[in-house]
Amino acid sequence: MIRYRPAADVGVIVHDDAVYVARLPHGPIVVLAGTAAVVWRAACGEGEGTVADRTAGSVDLDSSAIAEAVDGFVADLVARGLLVRAQDVAVAAPSERDPREFAP
């Protein structure tokens, strides 16, 4: 299973059908609507297979038909610093830990 999660200091808001994400504190806010929101959810969500597999289940398309576009889009989100591979986070140095691990 290939899974992603928001990178450290990335804010994520799900509002109506759109997903709003931003590298904080500077932004900008990136709006993921329609299929883009579906891919984001599939990338960060639970489930077996690839991101394209999970996306295909939501848009009623064959996984192989959308795999290239989905992988390209996810790679773009990673390049923008919005997403990281979930297992990458697990081995990150302490200083790079996700600050969401909040301990009051």
Partner: protein, 318 residues
């Protein structure tokens, strides 16, 4: 596949993202802050639709300098400094063209104990909520109830806010609320929010809260500030500053930096207005005869107002 362009980001989304951004900035410089008011308010107290329009944070006073530097480095500009923001000089407002307004509170109006002690009291019992998925500290429910009530006191009660907050608390929570009011030395403002200020007519903060909760002239406001000051030095400083022009406010009013002549004109206008208010007040006193004693004034005003002290209300359980 590209992110689709949405013409307008919903204000609530922008506000929440702004709040999370401020939290990130604070985390990076180690400044402790509590998110207060607006959407960070527990819906138990004011309902789920209470969204707010700007970000409000209460900051550990020791962390304010580093937070200020970090905010400025991130593109936030000071819109209104502590000194010019209100009679209580409690918050500094920042503006960011992308993120909107931010109020950094160094104290909360109505709390009488020292700013650092007050922050520690609130911080110790903090709770956690999330903004844009990022963890943010907020005051505990009881503390939120106290802060909302104190905030309502400054705006003529903000409708029925104080009563709604009180009604939302059960018996033990009301007792905790009143205990916290005592601990924070916030009884005067708390009473003002509940329409029971006259019980505290003997306190030095009385006039300040009378003006804040019911309105008054600029001169009364300054007089209230002077009376409420703890030290002679503070009082002298306020008296000397009274006629000075708030150039930040004038800048916002004009939409540009004021010219020297405009500052002079504003100075003369303020001085003349202050003189008129003092003359009018003296005239009123002369026509009414000797001023009633504080106790008598308190008694007559109290008789006019409804007895809304939560401790005496029928619905009060504490």
């Amino acid at each position: 596949m590209l992110a689709e362009v949405v013409e307008r980001i919903p204000p609530g989304v922008r506000l929440e993202m702004s709040r999370a951004g401020v939290q990130v900035i604070a985390d990076r410089v180690g400044a402790r802050l509590l998110h207060i008011k607006g959407s960070m308010t527990d819906p138990v107290l004011l309902g789920p639709r209470f969204e707010g329009t700007d970000v409000d944070v209460m900051v550990d006073p020791a962390g304010i300098p580093s937070l200020h530097r970090a905010l400025v480095a991130a593109g936030w500009q000071v819109y209104s400094a502590f000194r010019n923001n209100s009679s209580f000089e409690h918050a500094q407002t920042y503006f960011h063209p992308d993120w909107g307004y931010l109020d950094v509170h160094r104290r909360f109006p109505g709390i009488g104990i020292a700013d650092d002690r007050a922050f520690e009291v609130l911080w110790t019992d903090r709770a956690e909520v999330r903004a844009a998925g990022l963890p943010c500290a907020v005051p505990a429910l009881t503390a939120q109830a106290v802060l909302l009530t104190l905030n309502a006191a400054r705006a003529g009660g903000m409708g029925d806010t104080a009563a709604r907050v009180w009604d939302a608390l059960d018996g033990p929570a009301r007792r905790d609320c009143l205990a916290l009011v005592e601990r924070l030395d916030a009884a005067v403002a708390f009473a003002a929010a509940h329409g029971d200020l006259e019980r505290y007519a003997h306190r030095r903060e009385y006039l300040l809260w009378k003006v804040a909760s019911r309105g008054g002239t600029r001169t009364e406001d300054w007089l209230g500030r002077v009376r409420a000051s703890r030290t002679l030095r503070d009082r002298i400083g306020l008296v000397l500053r009274a006629p000075l022009v708030n150039t930040e406010r004038l800048t916002h009013k004009l939409g540009r930096r004021p010219r020297p002549a405009e500052i002079v004109r504003e100075f003369l206008t303020r001085s003349a207005q202050g003189a008129r208010e003092v003359t009018r007040a003296a005239g009123d006193r002369f026509r009414q005869g000797p001023a009633p004693t504080e106790g008598a004034a308190a008694h007559s005003s109290a008789a006019r107002s409804s007895p809304t002290d939560p401790r005496r209300q029928k619905r009060g359980e504490a």
